[in-house]
């Protein structure tokens, strides 16, 4: 199960942010004005599990202007670096295919924070543990859709079976292109990408980095076999170096 976020119909109402906070009882994440369009949330984080991005392009003087709005969320990667590097097993894959932190196990080592290629998961400093979107694990277990999708008034956030969502999303891209929106494209819908496909993918109207998303994310653990090989060789080299220092010459 997962999300398809169709940003072409996002109106920037932030109902998703509010619904997520209320349902999941996520603490306050700062009350400040960023001066960055209507985005005073800034980014996803330990206490921000939905984040609506606002991009203003062009100038209102010549009416050559557009506003991009997009509700970002944890991608629930198929090959999830956060889960793979977690040393305690606190991060696990649920029966719905989503990635969730067990708050009673997490010891706040922070490894997942550095491993996430999207900058999603973070440690809540006053609490010491890592937090992120659970895709409303509790609601899913009761057969309900996640709070953000439920609250979204335009169906920009859609919840369902990923295969079905992908098919729907491709149809939507065709539709938009036929209507002249040449820049419409899907982001994260390909199971062969660097993270094995996103459990939460998007329809975007510009390059991913414009929305603060990495254009070609790769799970760091894809390179782990090579990293372990280098490490084993280096450990061997260390032993060899010590042995060399001990042989020959005076005592």
């Amino acid at each position: 199960m997962g999300f398809f976020t169709d940003t072409s119909v996002c109106i920037g109402c932030k109902a998703c942010e509010v619904a997520c906070k209320e349902w999941n009882q996520v603490p306050e994440d700062g009350l400040e004005f960023t001066g960055q369009s209507y985005d005073n949330t800034g980014a996803l984080g330990a206490s921000t599990w939905r984040h609506v991005a606002f991009v203003e392009q062009g100038s209102s003087d010549d009416m050559d202007f557009r506003w991009l709005m997009s509700s970002d969320v944890c991608k629930h990667c198929t090959s999830a670096a956060c889960l793979e590097v977690c040393p305690t097993g606190a991060l696990f894959r649920t029966e719905f295919g989503t990635v969730v932190v067990q708050e009673d196990v997490c010891n706040g080592c922070g490894y997942c924070v550095a491993a996430c290629p999207f900058g999603v998961i973070d440690r809540r400093e006053e609490d010491g543990r890592a937090w992120k979107c659970t895709l409303c694990y509790d609601r899913l277990k009761d057969g309900m859709e996640p709070a953000c999708a439920k609250a979204c008034p335009t169906d920009s956030i859609q919840f369902g079976e990923l295969d079905e969502l992908r098919e729907r999303a491709r149809g939507r891209v065709q539709e938009l292109r036929a209507d002249g929106v040449a820049d419409a494209r899907l982001y994260g819908d390909d199971p062969d990408d660097g993270v094995g496909g996103f459990g939460a993918f998007f329809l975007l109207l510009d390059d991913p980095e414009v929305y603060g998303l990495p254009p070609d994310p790769v799970s760091t653990t894809r390179d782990l076999p090579a990293i372990w090989k280098s490490t084993a060789l280096a450990a061997g080299a260390l032993v060899a170096g010590v042995a060399a220092a001990l042989v020959g010459g005076r005592r």
Partner: protein, 331 residues
Amino acid sequence: MSVLEVRAYPGPSGSDGAGPEIRTYHGRPVLKQPVWRPEIPWYFFVGGMAGAAAPLAVGAGVSGRRALARRAWILALAGVGISPVLLISDLGRPERFHNMLRVFKVTSPMSVGSWALAGFGTATGLAVGNELLGLPGGAAAKPVAAALGPVVSTYTAALIADTAVPVWHEARTELPFLFAATSAASAGAALTLVTPDAEAVPARRLAVAGAAGALGLLQAMERRLGPLGEPYREGDAGRFGRAAKALMGAGALGLAAFGRRSRAAAAAGASAVLAGAALERWSVFRAGFQSAADPKYVVGPQRARVEARGAGVGGAQVGPAGGAGRVNGGD
């Protein structure tokens, strides 16, 4: 054409048709900053030194250098004693440190390292008990400590390489060797300081070889990384790195040239190598933060990969390649 040119806020009117400049969301970072605190680079230094000291202790014992062996075991025990204190203090929930040994995961270098450190600490404790107090168990524990020590010295490189942090992940080939060399330099230098001249030769050699190796690896790493290695040269990372190179270089030269003749020169050289090795850990640590903070190091290489494939992300077709924000007809 540089893949690292940033344009924070693109718009159609600002589109100058120039090369593949990097576009960002309000100039914000894509990645989170690592949450690790100063305990971690100090652990890299202390744990790495302990790990390299153990095989030296075993070798010194086998070759009859009793004084060197005893000091190397004590150094290893001191290092492996301080390490968990540093690591636990860095946790968000220190009282749950034992969850580190709740599972064993080969996909998590931190899990592998926790088990290696636990095993290394136990074996080193037994080895020291045998060496100093004549307690039993030394024969079995010493080889185990010597085998696990180098794992402890190098897994930390695997740990930071296995992250999304650009300068750590991209340096994954060299970092384990750099950490091995720096660990050897630290252990050799520390033991040069405390070992009587008659048995200090292997320690001095290890310090010189480790420092020389580290300098060579840094050179190779920075050359291979090219513009992506920029964070290693800038800010705190750059300052620490330059000081580390100067100290390790001068210290190793001093040790090699005068270490045999003058006790004072040996002590000065060893101190310089030790300080340089610590600063090198700090340089690598800070560089990671700097590269995670700047979206150009994250987006640049990824955008270049997408362009090279000549297709959009995830196989979906994109609009104009690298096109700056274009306005769609009013819909």
